[in-house]
C-alpha cells in the first residue's frame, strides 16, 4: 500500500468519525504544510496559526474529499487558500495562482529559505533535534546509514535499495527500522517521550 493509499485509508477512517485518524495526518503533514506556508507568511507565529487553521478547514471539508487527488495535494490547496485569505484580511498582498500551484507544492523542498520558520522559543529545540538526528545518523553503521538515507532522502523502495545494497529485502526492512529506532531512542529523552515514561 503506497503513500497515497495510506493517506486515503486514514481519510476514510476520519470520514467515518475517527478523529484520531485525522490526527495522524496532522502529525505527518504539519511540517510540510508549515514550510509551504512560510513562503507567503514571514512571521513564525502567524505561520503556526495559519497552519492550524488550514488543518481545521481541511477537517471540516473532509466530507467533500472524494480522493480524486492525493490528500496532500488537496490539503496544500486548502493551505494556500487559507494563507491567501489571511493575507487579504490583513490588507497584505496575497500570492497569485501563478506564483504557486499544487504541483509545485508536491515537490516543494526549500530548507534554506526556511531558517527562521520556527518561533524563537522553538528555534533552539529545532536545532537540537536536527543536531541529534544528524549526529546519530553519523554514528550508525554504514549499512544502516545507507539504508535509511536511500529510503528517506532518495525515496527509493525496499526492492531498489536491496538491489543497490545487494542484500535481501528483509535485510533492508530490518536495517531501515533499526536506523529509525536508533535515532528515535536519542530523540525521545529530548522530546520528553522516553519509552520508560510511557503509560
Amino acid at each position: 500500500m503506497g503513500d497515497r493509499e495510506i493517506d486515503q485509508a486514514l481519510v476514510d477512517r476520519a470520514q467515518r468519525g475517527d478523529k484520531q485518524a485525522f490526527d495522524l495526518l496532522v502529525s505527518k503533514y504539519q511540517r510540510k504544510l508549515a514550510r509551504l506556508l512560510s513562503r507567503f507568511i514571514r512571521d513564525p507565529a502567524e505561520i503556526e496559526d495559519v497552519t492550524q487553521e488550514a488543518f481545521i478547514k481541511a477537517y471540516r471539508a473532509l466530507p467533500s474529499f472524494r480522493g480524486d487527488s492525493a490528500f496532500y495535494t488537496w490539503l496544500y490547496r486548502i493551505g494556500i487558500n487559507t494563507a491567501k485569505n489571511y493575507l487579504v484580511s490583513l490588507g497584505r498582498r496575497a500570492p497569485t495562482s501563478t506564483e504557486f500551484n499544487s504541483e509545485e507544492a508536491e515537490t516543494f523542498e526549500d530548507a534554506e529559505h526556511l531558517r527562521d520558520v520556527n518561533t524563537p522559543e522553538n528555534e533552539l529545540m529545532s536545532r537540537q533535534i536536527a543536531q541529534t538526528v544528524n549526529d546519530t545518523l553519523g554514528s550508525l553503521p554504514e549499512e544502516l546509514r545507507s539504508a535509511i538515507t536511500l529510503r528517506e532522502i532518495e525515496g527509493l523502495s525496499y526492492e531498489d535499495i536491496a538491489s543497490i545494497m545487494n542484500c535481501p529485502i528483509g535485510t533492508v526492512r530490518s536495517r531501515i527500522f533499526r536506523a529509525r529506532e536508533a535515532i528515535a531512542e536519542r530523540l525521545r529523552p529530548l522530546l520528553g517521550t522516553s519509552k520508560d515514561k510511557r503509560w
Binding site: M1, G2, E5, I6, A9, L10, R13, Q15, G17, K19, Q20, A21, D23, L24, S27, Q30, R31, K32, A34, R35, E48, T51, Q52, F55, I56, Y59, R60, L62, P63, F65, R66, G67, E109, A111, L114, R115, V117, N118, N122, S126, R127, I129, A130, V133, L137, T149, R151, E152, S157, Y158, R173, I176, F177, R180, I183, A184, L187, L191, T193, R198
Partner: protein
Amino acid sequence: MTVEISELMDGELDAAAAETLVARISRDPIPREDWALYHLIGDTLRGAAYYSPALAPEVSSRIAREPAVLAPRRGPRVSKAARWGLSAAASLAAVAVVAWMGLRGPLEPGPAQMATLAPAGTPVPQPAPAMTSAVNDYLVAHQEYSPRFAMQGLAPAVQTVAFPAEGAAR
C-alpha cells in the same frame, strides 16, 4: 509494532495488513507517538527544520470539539476499463434477452391457463345487473345528499340530471 509502522510509512505493507495497522495506530496512543516520531525523523533528514510542539495537540484539541464528520461511504473505485466492460456486458445481456424473446415466438397460454378455458359453445354466465331501475331512481332522487356533495359551496352549483336508458319502460 514499530517494525510494522516503519514498513507502513515506507509503503511496503500489503493493503490488508496496512488497513489493520492503521486502525490500531489510530486507536492506540503509543504507536501514534512512534508514527509522529518517525515522521519527524524523516522530515528532519530531508532538511525540514521545523518544530512546533503545540501545533498538532492544538489541532487535535480543536478537532475534538468539532462535530464528527460523517461522509457517505464511497463504493469501491471502478476503473475506466472495468466501467467500459460493465457497460458492454449490460448491452450484450439486453441484446441476448431481446433475441431470445424473438426466437421463442408469440407467447402461448400455459397449462394452468388452458385448464380454465371453457369448451367452445358453452354459455358463459353473465354477472347479474348490480342495480335495478328502482334503486337507480332512488339514488338519483337522493343524490344531492351524497357525501361527495358535502363540500361547502359546491351543492348549490350542481344540478342533478338523469337520463332514462334508451328503450327502457317509462
